[in-house]
């Protein structure tokens, strides 16, 4: 395993061909996530965030660029490596229960399934799988472990899905809109469960969402626009000399290897930035100016 970021995407491109039309879902996306982080990826519908997650989970291959998780190059995985990757390194939770849970297995059986697939079976004979019980405990599913998915509430379904996702102790947990179909209370439960998984088991967690609420629960929020990462928001809690705690929020634009970056839309609108801008390099920062005709320039300043 090579040193470097735990998740690293460089110039990731994914083009779908649908009915003869090409749709470019990812247009050279760059992303770095360190091990142990709890990250949210946000973006408007169609911005490519779910595509990114599908690639990171090994279910899809990028058209171009590179994607590495835990040192493994996802673009060149063999079929066997992919199976190992899905068994041991990555776990995922999708928005809909029907994509997470088999309808004809109970919650407990669903949690045991990935263990069985990976050959870590704790059958009935040896009193059940301790890991499964542990996860059910951790995710507070004790009351409903023997119910069918259809008998669980949305929040319970998603918490079961989290248990399923981390059943094989993966190092990365990917979640695609895990709170998309939940009410506020259930959403908070699920997000707390994710935080717990991150904090207690040390699993790196990536949540894709357009739910602004989620940002409150993560350290870093990465925004995707038009198939590229555009900006990041870091949140941390600082304690001042008086012992009072406060949330510090810092916003960054993402710069790729060749120096491209996206300006937030609100900036473009506020200053009516269009077509091209003028840049000035100062000693410790770069200035961006609206492109105005020569004569007017002085006056504008």
């Amino acid at each position: 395993m090579t040193a470097g970021p735990f998740v690293q995407c460089e110039d990731l491109v994914r083009i779908f061909s649908v009915d003869g039309l090409e749709v470019q879902a990812l247009q050279g996306l760059n992303l770095r996530i360190d091990e142990g982080e709890l990250v949210a990826i946000v973006g408007a519908s169609g911005s490519g965030k779910s595509t990114l997650l599908t690639i990171l989970s090994g279910l899809d291959r990028p058209t171009g660029g590179s994607a590495r998780v835990a040192g493994l190059d996802l673009t060149t995985l063999t079929s066997r490596q992919r199976v190992t990757f899905q068994r041991e390194i990555v776990g995922f939770v999708w928005q809909q229960a029907s994509r997470n849970l088999l309808p004809y297995l109970t919650a407990r059986e669903n949690v045991a399934l990935p263990r069985a697939l990976a050959g870590r079976r704790g059958g009935r004979s040896n009193g059940g799988d301790a890991r499964v019980s542990e996860l059910i405990e951790l995710l507070d599913l004790g009351d409903c472990a023997d119910r069918w998915p259809a008998q669980l509430s949305g929040g319970q379904q998603q918490r079961t899905a989290i248990a399923v996702a981390i059943a094989n102790a993966p190092r990365l947990l990917l979640a695609d809109e895990p709170t998309g179909e939940l009410d506020e209370a259930a959403s908070v439960d699920v997000l707390r469960a994710m935080e717990a998984v991150n904090a207690e088991l040390g699993v790196t967690v990536v949540i894709v969402t357009h739910d602004p609420e989620v940002s409150e629960h993560v350290d870093r929020t990465i925004q995707i626009r038009d198939g590229r990462t555009s900006r990041e928001v870091l949140r941390r809690t600082e304690t001042d000399e008086h012992g009072a705690q406060r949330r510090v929020i810092e916003e960054f634009a993402v710069l790729d290897r060749v120096g491209r970056m996206q300006l937030p839309e609100s900036y473009l609108e506020a200053l009516d930035l269009r077509d091209r801008v003028r840049l000035d390099l100062e000693t410790d920062h770069v200035e961006v100016f609206r492109d105005v005709p020569q004569g007017k320039q002085e006056g504008e300043r």
């Binding site: 779910s50 994509r99 004809y104």
Partner: protein
């Protein structure tokens, strides 16, 4: 959580679809196991049916050779009874060895060989007061005669005790007079005026021969086929000769243990008959062509009888004699082979289509199973199941679904039919059992967890080109076959023709449908109807028609039409043959029938009409260009027309009534009706008919058939007896046709008629019809055709249900959304109607046409004369049955369209996963 539990849960979750797949496999396996065997049984039955009334003499495989020739098998001179038995044994063993060398199916039918020997007749002295002018006795021997007769009087003959060495070895002329005990049939003894104990001296070559009648016998079973060969042994042969007087020949059996010694002493030639009795009931395998080939193989060349050395005298080495077998059986078997081949062709034609669709429907159902399973498979795969493992599990599940079900179907068929098949009997069931596994394994495993996006294009251009090219090939092949040319099952192109043509029509329907749907949508989107707009939009963008489902509909409908037409054609062909040969309900031939008898017959109970026919042959019909020999039939035109009142028009009976309408005619010419073979146009000039005297005639019309009198192949001429009074007066009528009152008992009337006209040949049309339709192969054919209509209907219906089931989730989501928007229930029904009806109606209409076309094309090529007599029948379109088929199709479409709205209560609402 083991794989086994996972599979079990998954299958239990889809138990409806699983049960359907299992059921279809079971039924199909039963059908594919049973059908070949039912067919084979019917073919074998047909062989037995047809051969049962051939006399044993014609049927059995028999040979005649000289006793001298046969003695080569055991050349030492037989002296003691032991020596005689040894020679019989040498002959019997070599004959039996020949039988065992024959391979089945002929060997199964050949009984143990019979060997009898007989000399020419010895003239015996005339009995006092006997009317027999030429009494003769033939000496005969059969080792096993004692098993077939019982003594009436006296004792069986003792073997002759004669030692050639005692005669000084100087040759036959130095022998003393011989005395031989014989036994005679009691009836023969009576006819010849002989009694037990009589001594009859007859002249032989060099010395006198005294026959001592030791006893008389009676035949135990006169119906035994043996006596058909040995007729003189079961009854005296009596020949009445007006010049020479009565000649009677009796067969005098000597003891077989002394036969060869006797023969040597007599120095007379004798002939030996050898035959294998053919047991028609034992013919198995149902392949008459093979049987005929085997028979020809035995009869076309000399067969060597070979005796190994050993035994007495001759020392070692092989000795052989050639004999030539004869049997009429091959000719008869050929006729049955023709019938069977024609039947097999039709059965194959009819079965291949539904079978192909059955497999397609099975595939469709299994695909449905897989489609419903797809999300679960995707989850399992995404959670780390290896593809190889997943495929193994799917394959095992497929086998688990298929093989036991196939085995059950096979077992049920086997236990019902009670015969054990070879490995070939297993094969179709096993192939069926593997279908689910193949279908489950053939598509790529689901990968992503997101729903796949559908491509709107129909796709498969290459597939369509291949299908259309194959259809073109098949069509050109079918068109190039001469009418009625296909007798054997040889041509696979013809057998698959219905399926390939159905595939081609399916492809065309799939290509045409989007255009029609788009056109309909273009019109409907401008209209005010919401359902019309939504339904047609769905028909364009999310069509339910798949290759398999359209194929099922096309094959189902076209096979139903084909079967209906074929069935009607066969029925009418058989019916027509009966009408052509019988002409009426009763056809009585033989004795002279005069006018008074005819009147008497007409007055009998149950007789509606009767007419006599007098025949003059030859009659010369001369026209200016040629003169031809013809057969003149004289009838009372009005009476004959009355008799023919019930004859259906399809028989093509000559318009007999026209003879009368033109009675006076121009210039006193006699109106005639002629066979098409005579090639005389109505109204032709200068035609004369001579039957002793020559008269001017005028051809009124030509018609195909004179029912009961002559068919289209004969050169017949019909005239009204009143128009040729002189000819009629000198020609007695020997044929009587009787039409019965509806409901009259044909047999009783026939008996009464025979009472009037004297002993006569009686043909009862009802019995003839029953005999013609009651043959095993025709029953098989009608059964298969009727069954195929049902099977095709069920399959088409099944595929429609499967299509509806496959479309159910998507439709349910759409309806749920539309209901939320306030769609009325009636509108929901209309939308469901749009799912199925347009393409099914299009496919069914095309298939209906295809069925009509294929039935015309294929019936033309098949040789149906085996069932319908001389003429190849023209395809018949039965209007009622065809209309019923169309209505059935419509009802099925309506039923399937309504189906989803009935099940609406169970469909899920909006939350379902896309």
């Amino acid at each position: 959580m083991t794989w086994w539990r996972l599979s079990r849960r998954a299958l239990a979750d889809q138990r409806g679809a699983v049960a359907l797949v299992v059921l279809v496999i079971t039924v199909l396996s039963l059908a594919v196991t049973a059908l070949p065997r039912i067919e084979a049984t019917a073919r074998a039955d047909q062989v037995r049916h047809r051969l049962a009334d051939v006399s044993p003499q014609l049927r059995d495989l028999s040979a005649v050779t000289s006793a001298d020739a046969l003695s080569a098998l055991d050349p030492s001179l037989p002296v003691t009874p032991e020596d005689n038995r040894r020679r019989w044994a040498a002959i019997a063993e070599s004959f039996e060895a020949t039988r065992t060398e024959v391979s089945p199916p002929l060997r199964d039918a050949l009984g143990a060989g019979e060997v009898t020997a007989t000399t020419d007749g010895y003239a015996i002295p005339l009995g006092p007061g006997s009317d027999v002018r030429l009494p003769t006795l033939s000496l005969a021997a059969d080792q096993r005669i004692a098993e077939r007769v019982e003594m009436v009087d006296g004792a069986p003959p003792a073997p002759v005790s004669w030692d050639p060495a005692a005669g000084g070895g100087g040759g036959a002329e130095e022998l003393p007079d011989l005395e031989i005990e014989v036994m005679l049939l009691d009836a023969s003894a009576d006819r010849l005026g002989l009694a037990t104990g009589d001594r009859i001296t007859v002249g032989n070559l060099y010395h006198d021969l005294t026959l001592v009648l030791s006893g008389t016998y009676r035949v135990l079973d006169p119906d035994d086929g043996y006596w058909a060969h040995e007729t003189n042994g079961a009854q005296p042969r009596v020949v009445e000769d007006l010049n020479l007087g009565t000649a009677v020949n009796g067969r005098a059996y000597v003891a077989s243990d002394g036969w060869w010694s006797t023969l040597a002493a007599l120095g007379q030639p004798a002939q030996v008959s050898l035959w294998y009795p053919v047991d028609v009931a034992a013919i198995r395998g149902g392949d008459p062509a093979l049987l005929a080939a085997q028979l020809r193989g035995l009869t076309a060349q000399q067969v060597e009888l070979t005796a190994s050395g050993g035994g007495g005298g001759g020392g070692g080495g092989e000795r052989s004699v050639s004999i030539g077998f004869a049997s009429e059986l091959a000719v008869r078997v050929d006729a049955v082979a023709g019938e069977n081949a024609a039947a097999s062709n039709i059965v194959a034609l009819v079965v291949v289509g539904p079978l192909g669709v059955a497999v397609a429907v099975l595939a469709l159902l299994t695909q449905l199973l897989l489609e419903r399973r797809r999300p679960a498979l995707a989850i399992v795969r995404a959670r780390g199941a290896s593809p190889a493992r997943l495929r193994t599990v799917l394959g095992l599940e497929g086998l688990l679904l298929g093989l036991p079900a196939a085995a059950v179907g096979w077992g049920v068929a086997t236990s019902l039919l009670g015969t054990s098949p070879g490995w070939r009997g297993w094969l179709p069931a096993v192939v069926l059992g593997v279908v689910p596994a193949v279908v489950l394994l053939s598509p790529p495993l689901p990968t992503g967890l997101r729903g796949r996006r559908r491509d709107l294009a129909v796709g498969g251009l290459a597939r369509d080109v291949v299908v259309l090219a194959a259809a073109g090939l098949v069509l050109s092949q079918v068109l190039s076959v001469a009418p009625g040319a296909v007798a054997g099952t040889g041509d696979p192109l013809l057998v698959v023709a219905p399926l390939v043509l159905a595939l081609a029509v399916t492809v065309l329907v799939l290509r045409l449908y989007p255009w029609l749907a788009r056109a309909a949508h273009t019109v409907l989107r401008r209209g005010r109807s919401l359902t019309g707009f939504l339904g047609s939009a769905r028909a364009v963008r999310d069509p339910g028609a798949t290759l398999t489902s359209v194929l099922a509909v096309v094959v189902g409908v076209s096979v139903a039409v084909f079967s209906v037409v074929t069935l009607a054609t066969l029925r009418e062909g058989v019916e027509r043959t009966v009408w052509v040969t019988s002409g009426s309900d009763l056809r009585i031939s033989g004795p002279r029938i005069d006018a008074a008898q005819l009147e008497q017959v007409r007055s009998l109970d149950g007789v509606a009409a009767a007419a006599t026919v007098a025949t003059v042959s030859p009659a010369i019909l001369s026209s200016p260009s040629a003169s031809v020999r013809a057969t003149l039939h004289l009838v009372d035109g009005a009476a004959y027309a009355d008799v023919l009142a019930d004859v259906p028009p399809s028989v093509g009976a000559a318009p007999v009534a026209d003879l009368l309408g033109d009675g006076g005619g121009a210039g006193g010419a006699v109106p005639l009706m002629v066979s098409p073979r005579l090639d005389l146009a109505p109204g032709a000039d200068g035609v004369r008919l001579s039957t002793g005297e020559s008269v001017d005639v005028r051809v009124v019309a030509s018609g195909n058939v004179l029912p009961g009198v002559a068919d289209a192949g004969a050169t017949w001429v019909l005239a009204d007896a009143a128009a040729l009074p002189d000819v009629a007066a000198s020609t007695p009528a020997r044929l009587l046709l009787v039409r019965l009152v509806p409901g009259a008992d044909g047999d009783a009337v026939a008996e009464a008629v025979v009472g009037v006209v004297g002993p006569a040949g009686v043909e009862n049309a009802a019995a003839a019809r029953e005999a013609a339709t009651g043959t095993p192969v025709l029953r098989l054919l009608t059964g298969t055709l009727a069954g195929s209509v049902v099977a095709a209907a069920l399959l088409a219906l099944g595929s429609l249900v499967a299509v509806q089931a496959a479309a159910a989730p998507r439709r349910a989501r759409m309806l749920a959304t539309l209901r939320l928007l306030g769609l009325r229930r009636s509108a929901q029904r209309s939308l469901a109607w749009w799912d199925l009806t347009p393409w099914v109606v299009l496919g069914a209409t095309a298939a209906y046409g295809l069925g009509l076309v294929t039935s015309h094309l294929l019936l033309r090529t098949l040789d149906l004369r085996a069932f319908t007599g001389a003429d190849q029948p023209q395809p018949v379109l039965p209007p009622v049955a065809l209309a019923a088929t169309a209505v059935g199709v419509l009802l099925a479409v309506v039923a399937c369209s309504i189906l989803p709205t009935i099940r609406r209560a169970r469909t899920p609402t909006a939350q379902e996963d896309p």
